[in-house]
Symmetry: none
Subunit: 308 residues, 2 copies
Amino acid sequence: MVDNEDKRTQLPQSFSLDDFVYERLLSNNANRKVIFVLGRCFNLPAIVILEKIAFTEEQFSGTDDKSTILKNSSLEKIMENDIYQNNFCRVDSDLNKLKATIIYPATEKHISKYTEQKIYVLKETPELYKSVTLPCLEKEQFNCDWVYNILEHRQEVDRIVIEDLSPDVGFMLLPDLKWDGVTDETMYVTAIIMNRSIKSIRDLRESHLPLLENIKSKCLAAIKDKYGVNSNEVRAYFHYQPSYYHLHVHFNYLKYDAPGIFCDKAHLLDTVIDNIKMVPNYYEKATLSFTVRENDKLYDAYKSIAEE
Amino acid sequence: MVDNEDKRTQLPQSFSLDDFVYERLLSNNANRKVIFVLGRCFNLPAIVILEKIAFTEEQFSGTDDKSTILKNSSLEKIMENDIYQNNFCRVDSDLNKLKATIIYPATEKHISKYTEQKIYVLKETPELYKSVTLPCLEKEQFNCDWVYNILEHRQEVDRIVIEDLSPDVGFMLLPDLKWDGVTDETMYVTAIIMNRSIKSIRDLRESHLPLLENIKSKCLAAIKDKYGVNSNEVRAYFHYQPSYYHLHVHFNYLKYDAPGIFCDKAHLLDTVIDNIKMVPNYYEKATLSFTVRENDKLYDAYKSIAEE
């Protein structure tokens, strides 16, 4: 019995952060106000990601006194100079929650993913994709079971924004794990395709244009419908390299500086479509730049090539 | 007396946010978790800037139970799937303060400075470039005299990192105005080409490959030489639309999240070179996406087309 409890692989319903034993800081993003810490729960590794949540207009404009920050906080002066005054502000904790993501049990790959590291840019020719990238990702890739759980309606069914079950052009659109699901300002949803044979944009060919066009038109319409965000205010893109090798499209609010939207990682859906229209096998022929971190297996693989 | 109190130009010692009467939201940065709101205090305009504060390692590693977030918070589950669990987390307010800056009295300039503009993404076909973008930028473009001052050695001569005076493939490399010039972590230099006839990547053709290759190899070597940053740690890219229409290349440290490196604005130098190698007139034929702000003349120009 004790043994079972010691090796539990799911968090109990009553889980609290009190059960998390701190080991070390993995990284701390002071700009986005998010911290990644490693520890243990019930004798297995766990990662806690805490992120401060963005403000909402309603926290100021609300007519209900209990819901506004202005009526439920106290100031503690730091300095003042002329017309500028700086303070600490203590706020009712209901109006100032955090988002806490817990990964349990966490693997070495998760630990490496969230640990601060050097970043390098690599240039992947079609030949290097076949000889280095593909073998490496086939060996190392993250388990996609959680994706299949979604696609087979075993998990997150109530979170589906829209779905198209066609095996060729179908997809499911869901709030991204990185989004709290309610703050409009940080709207972030992801379309996961039904087809399990497309790993990344590298595999995209002319025959996939109907899939891409279908995702684009239906997801933008659903985002307009559900979140009231017009299509000219949405950023739609792929990651290369992606964090998991089952093709998916990221959609977020243009004015939100989401993580992973830099030019060395994100490829606009529109550009991908237009590239394939211009050159049907663009992604078979292109040299794609991408960034890796020094702990990534892919960096090791490319480094050993360079040293040969 | 009442009059004096009504028009006081300093906040009282006992000032609290309760004295601030909300008028409207100026802007809300959901990435940095900072909000700018306009209101009135004692009948004069005031701006309140609230910002969530970054986490510190001590809030997790601390030995004093009262000082750690882990011992002073409660979770409220949002969703779970496999090994991932998302929660809201309510924290003791002493461990989760905000920074509150108050500007009082606030002027029109402050209000304008902190007011957010909407951002839109536009798709520029080759036809729209010729019929809308080009006429608009020819009419509205900023004066490039400061660029010519540099190219003719009238200004900033002592700031030149490297130069190649060839009229066809030449350029000057200088620290970017946005860089302080000393902090390695934020290294940011810009190569301005000698040729005055190339406005942006839209104008690039096969004949410009020697120019692009020359800039790439010489600038990366100079950056390694002068700043000790290896070429695989440099992000080299163009902006589209650029802020001035004389072709230039941005170079910065890969790990620095410089402004303007998002996928809807930045085009990697390597990708541009490779696109032209694959399709010599790629930038003559491509549909290019870019973002505009609602006060931009270019947005007006596109809006009036859409309304026709």
